[in-house]
């Protein structure tokens, strides 16, 4: 279990993470959402031991996490798929997997079995020997994910794993993440795409300016922070939008005044929650 216990981290005057607390359970996809500069990457870096918290404790598997990144022991249990494609492009996909597998202590048949399994997981079996520079963006993304799980870790951290890929590859990545959950892994998933979080994440933490704004399941978040839905009504050539928590009642009221030709109800979603919690001002 990954535990953030009142963790804070500053860079000079900037408080990147401020008193952040959460726990990630086994078999759960945990979404970490926030606007640019919210502190997501800092939190991920602390989770993998690249950064040391100024205050609080990051723990893994109920033991104090050794914050020194040179201390190898705790890192055997976690895998990271960075936001950028972190692969050696001059060598083949299988060789990338083999290299990182060796770094995690895999040898011989164990290593080869994992390489085969991960190529299959990423749907790259047929192109395993091909150099990565020849891969498409989607193939590289899938390999980036496969490398993170070559050593079969308990905790997998995926930092915006679908950036820059086409819908087919994105859907393939969703399926792989669901497979990881089904296999009992803890998955921490950061993204800017609300529909991804809504589809994949069992629970979502929304952070802004380093602070935890809300943490719950997606339906609970919508219930608590989504606000009213929108009833869109068309009458003749005019169209109007009405905020409402009772769409049928509102529709009846409108029908009583004037005949409604067409209507559509837009319920609140995770994006509404996100904007309600973090505001609509641009973040740089």
């Amino acid at each position: 279990m990954l535990v953030f216990d009142h963790v804070s981290k500053s860079f000079g005057d900037l408080r990147a993470v401020d008193d952040l607390s959460f726990e990630v359970e086994a078999g759960e996809v945990f979404g970490l959402l926030g606007p640019n500069g919210a502190g997501k990457t800092t939190a991920i870096n602390m989770a993998v031991g690249l950064l040391e918290p100024d205050e609080g404790v990051v723990r893994f598997a109920d033991e104090a996490f050794d914050r020194d990144p040179r201390d190898a022991e705790n890192r055997r249990s976690l895998g990271l798929a960075p936001q950028s494609i972190a692969l050696y492009e001059q060598i083949g996909g299988a060789d990338n997997l083999r290299f990182f597998g060796r770094l995690h202590g895999l040898r011989g048949t164990d290593l080869e079995e994992r390489v085969v399994a991960c190529l299959d997981f990423a749907d790259l079996t047929d192109v395993g020997k091909k150099v990565v520079s020849k891969y498409s963006g989607g193939m590289k993304r899938r390999l980036n994910l496969a490398v993170a799980i070559i050593h079969d870790p308990e905790l997998v951290l995926l930092d915006e794993p679908t950036v820059g890929v086409d819908p087919q590859s994105r859907n393939a990545i969703f399926e792989r993440v669901e497979q990881l959950r089904d296999a009992g892994k803890e998955v921490v998933y950061t993204t800017h795409y609300m529909e991804e979080a809504q589809r994949l994440c069992d629970r979502v933490a929304i952070i802004d300016r380093g602070r935890l704004m809300a943490l719950d399941t997606v339906p609970a978040l919508i219930e608590a922070h989504g606000g009213p839905g929108n009833l869109v009504v068309r009458t003749g050539d005019s169209e109007s939008r009405h905020e409402t928590t009772d769409p049928l009642g509102t529709l009846a009221e409108l029908q009583a005044r004037q005949a409604v030709d067409h209507f559509q109800y837009l319920p609140p979603d995770l994006e509404t929650v996100f904007l309600n919690l973090t505001g609509r001002a641009l973040r740089d």
């Binding site: 690249l50 990144p69 972190a86 692969l87």
Partner: protein, 424 residues
Amino acid sequence: MNKIVAMAAKDIHILFRDKLGFFFTVFFPLMMAIFFGAMFAGLSRGPANIPIALVDQDRTSASERFIERLGQASGLAVEQIPREEALEQVRRGRTAVMVTLTPGFGAALDNPFVTTPEVEMTVDPTQFAVAGMVRGVLLEAAGAELQDLMSDPARLGAANSQNSLFFESLPPSDARDQMLTFLDLSPRVSSLIDEMGLGAATGGNQGFGPPLEIEQTEVQAERPGPTNSYATSFAQAMLWTLIGGSVSFSMSIAIERSRGTLMRLLVAPITARHLLAAKGLACLGATLFTSTALITLGITVFDVRPTSYPLLALALLCGSICFCGIMMALSVIGGTEQAAAGIGWGLSLPLSMLGGGMVPLFLMPEWMQTLGNISPMKWTLMAYEGAIWRGFTLNEMLLPCAVLVAIGVLAFTLGARNLRWDTG
């Protein structure tokens, strides 16, 4: 037009905001100008900075006079030392030329009409251009000696008296009589020329052959050494292999950082020490392999014959250790791959110049030669050449090898301690 000016101004602005671009646009050319200016300033004062080892086996007043004249000549720094020591200096590359005044040199100098004075010149085969300059200064000094003799009736008369006795001992003939008449007249040649009002229009030594015979040998004539010029060119090539390898590997850490693989490595269950060791080992292995491959090619195809294979192996290892350390130091200085490459080459080129990798050390001013001791390239070349053709002994090889290892360890330690492990 305004648009063009605006775009040009933008590009110039960006250039000067880019520290690396600024370095190569302004600072590096300035550095080159200062380097070559300082070097050729030394040359413009004459080759006084060319050291020659002089061995006086004649030990006469005439040879001492000639040595004094050489010492005053612009172009040479004469050091009079015993023959064995002089030979060692040439062999070690500390001096380019050894000049030996053999017995009889002084007598011939005082009376060049019968025997032309001779000197032996032993040269470092890599320094033929310098040897040519020394040859010119020697001829100039001998010519000046001859001119002095011809314009000094007393010395000329003494020489002629000696020669007359010799010719008078020969059987009578017209040729002998004409020679005796010439010898009788020759002390008065200068005054007769003056009487005719020709003065300096004629040279005092006209009609004679060269004022000096120079017998040139290479230092290897007495000891085993290079078989051809490839022996020296391959040593240079091996040095450039090390430089190229160290710069390339210094970029690799920056590349790992920019492409995100450094983050993966740092998250893997390995320590920073593992990473450093791997980088060091890769650089050591690659430079060792390429330099070994080069010299193997030289040996098998170009007839390069190292004087000692064990010492060559030692030199190769020490050179690679040194540049492996330099690689780590360069990795620290250059945060990005462009910066690492730029700074790597920006430092390597002037250090190569200082170390004799481009211009022979003898052509540089003395202060610059001293400064060259800070250049690892100088010590690498010394070690390589010592094993390939200079015939170094183990004791002689210890100094350059120790310096190389010390530089390597120091640079690696400094680099490793200051290496940025952040991934951004």
